[in-house]
């Protein structure tokens, strides 16, 4: 019990003293997960719009697959991207394995299904009468999607925040693709896993508190958006 209490005390000292290692890991985590969330948004929102608006054979099957992939295990996403960017993989020549860029790709793959799904749910919430009137006004397909995404923007933003939450809290893909290299690809989750296994409990707790704080900010943001 004392170890845990001591761990918390030392953790707060590390945070309050702005320990460079803690700050570096936190900044890297935020950079990678924010970049992944941004890229995933740029892909998932238009794709979600197209799936929502277009009628095509197998649409419900596609939506079911997307919903299934909400629960895509992070290690599976990691394995998929690992196979793509490892030296022997089709994108091996890019040298992305064990780099932050590779980790961004991994997290992007992980959160895209969730964000497509959230976009679909958000657009389903826009009344059909609004869609009809926008189309009636002479909007092209792209203009229609853009207008309705604007109408559903708070719900879509909720999806983006959920995606960010999934990205920053995942450990499997980051470990497999990033390799947990100190000062380069080590992020909050991989650092907690490593430091705990090495018995460095105070640093693990400090990083855990920061991760929780970020999760709390994300959840509060989501709540505020849903209240609007």
């Amino acid at each position: 019990m004392n170890d845990i209490v001591d761990g918390f005390v030392q953790a707060f000292q590390l945070i309050v003293s702005l320990d460079p290692e803690v700050l570096g890991i936190t900044a890297r985590s935020l950079e990678i997960s924010l970049a992944a969330t941004l890229i995933a948004s740029l892909i998932a929102i238009p794709l979600g719009g197209l799936i929502h608006f277009r009628e095509f054979g197998g649409k419900s099957g596609v939506i079911t697959v997307i919903q299934t992939l909400y629960a895509l295990p992070t290690v599976l996403a990691g394995l998929l991207v690992f196979l793509l960017i490892s030296r022997a993989g089709p994108l091996g020549f890019l040298g992305l394995l064990f780099t932050p860029a590779g980790m961004i790709i991994g997290q992007t793959v992980l959160v895209i299904p969730l964000m497509i799904g959230m976009t679909l749910i958000a657009l389903s919430g826009v009344k059909k009468s609004i869609r009809d009137e926008v189309v009636s006004l002479g909007a092209t397909e792209g203009q229609t999607i853009l207008t309705l995404v604007k109408e559903a923007r708070f719900a879509i933003l909720g999806g983006i925040i959920l995606g960010f939450g999934r990205a920053i809290s995942e450990v499997g893909a980051a470990m497999m693709i990033g390799g947990n290299i100190r000062g380069y690809t080590r992020i909050l989750t991989t650092a907690i896993a490593l430091e705990t296994s090495q018995g460095n409990i105070p640093l693990s707790i400090a990083l855990g508190i920061i991760l929780l704080a970020i999760a709390m900010v994300v959840t509060t943001g989501l709540y505020l958006i849903q209240e609007r």
């Binding site: 009468s129 609004i130 009809d132 009137e133 926008v134 189309v135 009636s136 006004l137 002479g138 909007a139 092209t140 397909e141 203009q143 207008t147 604007k150 109408e151």
Partner: protein
């Protein structure tokens, strides 16, 4: 301007329109009346290319509307539809009136002038900065008409534009429609407002169960209907 030729329309098992053939000429005020579910609104949706006929052809300006989506956008841009429940996008009245012009990639100054002119025509000059969410139902419907007018359409389609309004707001919308009719705008109107149909329509069509039961000039149809079904319908609605 509009021509339906042997048009059928079904939604799944439900047959909504049956072998419909008619023309709407330029400058006509073509008014559709009939009980709910008789297919009136579906006709407007087919004209506006929001739905496709199950069989038969719908033509606009001599061109079949069974065209790829991209061409449909071009055809829609020559007409405008006012819906039963007017849409209000987030933003102010200006944004709501300008949206169709923005889709057409009109330039800023041109949009501003057209929005002002359109708002003046519906009696809402100076409303540009008002939040759309603060407007009454009647004002919102007039904004919807201004939005349609701003696009300078060749034909306007009205789908029961007063049915969702409080009684005191109905007149303000009907007055705008009457003014448009007097200016020679081609209009296809679905309405339960028999007073409007009598005053403004050049032709009234009574529909039931997806078919045209009877049609004629307003005086003829309202004062001396030939079909029993028309007589029954009119006796009910004119009593109210």
């Amino acid at each position: 301007m509009i021509e339906f030729s042997h048009v059928d329309k079904s939604f799944g098992e439900k047959v909504v329109l049956r072998d419909l053939t008619f023309r709407v000429e330029k400058g006509e005020i073509f008014t559709l009346i009939g009980p709910s579910g008789s297919g009136k609104s579906t006709i407007l949706r087919l004209i506006n290319l929001l739905d496709d006929p199950s069989s038969g052809t719908v033509s606009f300006d001599g061109q079949d509307t069974a065209v790829p989506n991209r061409e449909k956008v071009g055809m829609r841009r020559r007409m405008a539809m006012v819906f039963q429940k007017p849409m209000a996008i987030r933003g102010n009245v200006y944004d709501n009136v300008a949206i169709g012009l923005v889709f057409r990639k009109e330039k800023g100054a041109g949009i501003k002038n057209r929005v002002s002119e359109a708002l003046a025509l519906v009696g809402l000059s100076g409303y540009e900065e008002r939040k759309a969410s603060t407007l009454s139902g009647g004002e919102l419907q007039r904004v919807a008409i201004a939005r349609a007018l701003a696009m300078n359409p060749k034909i306007m389609l009205f789908d029961e534009p007063t049915s969702a309004l409080d009684p005191e707001m109905i007149k303000e919308v009907l007055d705008v429609m009457l003014a448009l009719a007097n200016e020679g705008m081609t209009m296809v109107v679905v309405s339960h407002e028999m007073g409007f149909a009598r005053a403004a329509a050049s032709r009234v069509i009574f529909m039931d169960e997806g078919r045209i039961v009877e049609q004629g000039q307003p005086d003829q149809l309202f004062d001396a209907p030939k079909e029993e079904r028309t007589k029954i319908f009119l006796s009910k609605v004119l009593q109210i």
